[in-house]
């Protein structure tokens, strides 16, 4: 950002517009070049078959196959890239290219998968449903980040709050499960406890930042490091010697009535864990709340220009406290997903940077719930495809595959694919008069 400020300072708006136009031209030309390059790759790849199989093992009756060649996939991807590039050049700086880029990802991912598989028949149904599953904690984390940053508070503590949420959900869920034997009650208790504790951590973050004017990055780091310390400590001291405290309830996949009977799509998209549906509902609800309600307007005003918001009588600090509390609740939900839905128990540092990847999804999604959801899906797909590739024994070092989400995150926050502007006042303390 500072570099942009440096050049924008003496000249003002005109230069910014010229820069935007230049960026748009570069983007368009790059995409066109990518398209042409894709045609070149296509020429030598028509003989390599690409067979994507969608088959659901647990039902068995759904079988859907896409048989094509890698060459044809290159042609399709190249055409799409050239088309988007041409659109970009034609429309200039006003072109809303971000959604198109996500659309473009689909054929290119297919091409790369096809090329890596090199003729092996791959069952993609797991990969696709896995993308939704793996995207869920990222979506929820990104929603928490959006709530905080739209209110004007940086929230790098997502990671720590998710970790604590994961731990709390396991302990409380295990205790309730042991006492009652009721899976549903244990799940609800575990998840609610995780949400409440994470919510309180959100309040702590807000209190440190607002009342004590601690730099919001430092306050977040306190929570992140403290979360690692306290959960590792609990794991080693308590959970290690009492495994009955680390046997949480399991949240199983749920067949949605009617929808799950649709062939192919049903088992893929409508037989997932309730978390997935919940996160999608939250995406819709938050989009409405943030952009269509009075509360949302106040929230955004607090993040963009708190002084103006304060002048018209909005209680900026109260809005920030509440936003961080709600963000904490969502973080707790996200944290509980990891042990209850996937791992089956609490492990040390099991969030493994998901809170930070969620922040990247938030940035790539331009601080918009739907955009963040789409970005989280991309990360989820990368994670899911990685599992497929390692199962199929594709010759890529696993360490490289493991690094992919982290590398994408850096690329995203570096804005290599275009810079987005977040809430103007996020991170700056506000003195209420």
């Amino acid at each position: 950002m500072s570099a942009a400020v440096a050049t924008a300072l003496p000249h003002g708006e005109g230069l910014a517009a010229r820069r935007a136009l230049r960026d748009a031209r570069i983007r368009g030309a790059t995409l066109l070049a990518l398209g042409v390059l894709s045609f070149y790759f296509a020429s030598s790849a028509f003989s390599t078959p690409a067979i994507f199989l969608f088959r659901i093992y647990n039902t068995g009756q759904d079988r859907f196959e896409v048989a094509t060649s890698v060459g044809l996939l290159w042609v399709i991807a190249g055409l799409a890239a050239a088309l988007v590039g041409a659109l970009q050049l034609w429309r200039g700086a006003t072109f809303r290219w971000r959604p198109w880029l996500l659309v473009l990802l689909v054929p290119y991912v297919a091409v790369i998968l096809g090329a890596l598989l090199d003729g092996t028949i791959a069952n993609l149904s797991r990969v696709l449903s896995g993308s939704f599953e793996l995207a869920t904690p990222l979506t929820l984390g990104a929603l928490a980040g959006i709530l905080s940053e739209r209110s004007g508070m940086l929230n790098i503590a997502l990671e720590g709050k998710m970790l604590v949420g994961a731990c709390v959900s396991v302990v409380v869920g295990s205790v309730v499960l042991g006492a009652t034997g009721n899976m549903f009650a244990a799940t609800v208790a575990g998840v609610s406890a995780a949400m409440v504790v994470s919510g309180l951590l959100g309040l702590l973050l807000a209190w440190l930042g607002i009342r004590h004017r601690v730099d919001q990055i430092i306050a977040g780091t306190v929570i992140n490091i403290g979360a690692v310390g306290i959960t590792n400590f609990l794991f080693l001291r308590v959970l290690g010697s009492s495994p009955e405290l680390n046997t949480p309830p399991n949240v199983a996949a749920m067949q949605l009535p009617f929808l799950s009977d649709i062939p192919v799509l049903g088992p893929l998209l409508f037989s997932l864990r309730p978390y997935v549906y919940l996160s999608i509902i939250l995406v819709i609800v938050l989009t409405y709340l943030i952009f269509r309600t009075r509360w949302g307007l106040r929230l955004r005003a607090s993040g963009e220009k708190p002084a103006a918001a304060g002048t018209v009588g909005i209680n900026v600090l109260q809005i920030r406290y509440r936003a961080l509390f709600f963000a904490g609740l969502i973080c707790g939900l996200a944290g509980s997903y990891l042990p209850l839905a996937t791992a089956g128990s609490f492990q040390m540092q099991m969030t493994a940077g998901k809170g930070f990847i969620a922040l990247a999804a938030m940035i790539f999604g331009a601080w918009h719930p739907i955009g963040a959801f789409a970005a989280a899906l991309v990360f989820g797909f990368a994670d899911s495809a990685q599992a497929l590739l390692s199962i199929l024994g594709v010759q890529v070092p696993p360490q490289l595959l493991n690094s992919v989400p982290y590398i994408i995150t850096i690329v995203v926050v570096a804005g290599v694919v275009g810079r987005v502007r977040g809430p103007a006042s996020a991170g700056q303390p506000y003195e209420q008069g």
């Binding site: 500072s2 790098i156 004017r213 730099d215 403290g226 930070f356 070092p397």
Partner: protein, 406 residues
């Protein structure tokens, strides 16, 4: 005398912060002592007493583990020979060994914070630096060069590797505005994977091991020991860390470049109007920071451990943030805080072995230290003392008015 009073005033908040954090750690130990707390219904006093006793046990083990067992020291005086002296001074020398990388990474954090960059990638820079040192160290195994020459080359490689790992986020921040908190954390994860990849390859891995452990290099390259007694690992890496502290102090406060670095951290806009390159300062500050952390990794892997493992850093990067803030981002303070944290680390490990209180509690204590140092108002409220306002560089450690949020 006035200087002493000034020192006491400056040390008041950090001292009380550490004390309060240790008390909170004790509370956590008591609350998780289920064995004793289970009896609280039948014998409340006894249960609480036993739980509190557990704290004294643990913290006591931490003290003797960090500074030495009085009994053993007495034995060493009564019957001074190599073995008794070594057992008596081993804890304190281990504290200095543990302090060495902490001082290096603490200096790295301090220099980056002074430049306005919140470098939490110390772990990654340290381990990538250690990888550089290992590559050179293992590569020169059959070169026949003297140990000191290999050491110098290995440390140079460590500085280059770590510096490069630190330069990346600096470059990204200066050129694209990518927030260093995210990029450095991501580079920590990537660095760990890179090191794992390198260690699992055939050229570095210890012969006959399937674990990610490098060859042990101590046969042909080592950091010279300060005290040559059996089982004493203290080496000149510690002296090097002190020299670097002096060098960082000189650079930051006595040179034009250092002034520019601090100006970029203090107010980048003003620095820019004064004709300085804030972006250049970010990149330089982060490269220096990464180089220091990498140097710490180099001394650690060539000296104290002799071989590279993928869990080499063990949270040093996190602890270094706490200690740099505790030190008020002053190099001399970093040395003092590094010694304190070295004692906590060494003692904490002994505590883990002797009393079963996991070492990881220290991370929680460190987090609380950061919180209390960053929010001295809390200390004021808890201890009813008058404390000075925090130094401006701590109050706004990331003062680069984040026009683009994380």
């Amino acid at each position: 005398m006035r200087a002493l009073a000034g020192l006491a005033r400056r040390a008041l908040v950090p001292g009380l912060a550490v004390l309060t954090a240790l008390i909170l750690g004790a509370v956590v130990i008591i609350l998780t002592d289920f064995e004793n707390l289970a009896q609280i219904g039948s014998d409340p006093a006894g249960a609480l007493g036993a739980a509190v006793g557990g704290v004294f046990n643990g913290y006591g083990a931490m003290l003797t583990g960090a500074f030495g067992d009085p009994e053993r020291i007495r034995l060493a005086f009564e019957d001074p020979n190599d073995r008794t002296i070594a057992t008596a001074i081993r804890p304190i020398t281990e504290t200095l060994v543990a302090a060495t990388p902490l001082i290096f990474v603490g200096l790295a954090v301090a220099i980056s914070f002074r430049t306005g960059m919140f470098n939490i990638g110390g772990d990654g820079q340290l381990i990538v630096g250690a990888l550089g040192a290992t590559i050179v160290g293992v590569g020169l195994q059959t070169s026949g060069l003297p140990s000191l020459v290999i050491l110098a080359l290995a440390i140079a490689a460590a500085i280059l590797f770590g510096g490069f790992w630190g330069f990346i986020p600096g470059f990204l921040k200066a050129r694209t505005g990518a927030h260093e908190v995210i990029t450095t954390i991501m580079l920590n994860y990537i660095g760990a994977q890179v090191v794992l990849f390198a260690l699992l390859g055939p050229s570095l891995r210890a012969a006959g091991s399937s674990q990610p452990i490098s060859k042990n290099m101590s046969a042909w390259v080592d950091v010279p020991s300060i005290i040559s007694l059996p089982a004493i690992r203290l080496d000149y890496g510690f002296v090097a860390s002190l020299v670097m502290a002096a060098a960082v102090s000189w650079l930051l406060f006595r040179t034009t470049k250092g002034y520019e670095l601090r100006a970029a951290g203090f107010n980048p806009t003003a620095a820019r109007y004064a004709g300085m390159s804030a972006g250049g300062s970010m990149m330089l500050g982060m490269a220096l920071s990464g180089g220091l952390a990498g140097m710490g990794g180099g001394f650690l892997v060539i000296g104290a451990t002799g071989q590279l493992t993928n869990d080499l850093s063990g949270g040093i990067g996190f602890n270094a943030i706490a200690l740099a803030l505790l030190a008020g981002l002053r190099p001399s303070g970093v040395v003092a805080a590094g010694l304190l944290f070295g004692a906590l680390t060494t003692g904490g490990k002994v505590m883990g072995i002797q009393s079963g209180i996991p070492f990881d509690l220290l991370f929680f204590i460190m987090a609380m230290v950061i919180m209390f140092v960053a929010a001295p108002g809390l200390i004021r409220t808890i201890w009813r003392v008058k404390v000075a306002k925090p130094a401006p560089e701590i109050a706004s450690v990331a003062p680069t008015a984040p026009a683009e949020p994380v």
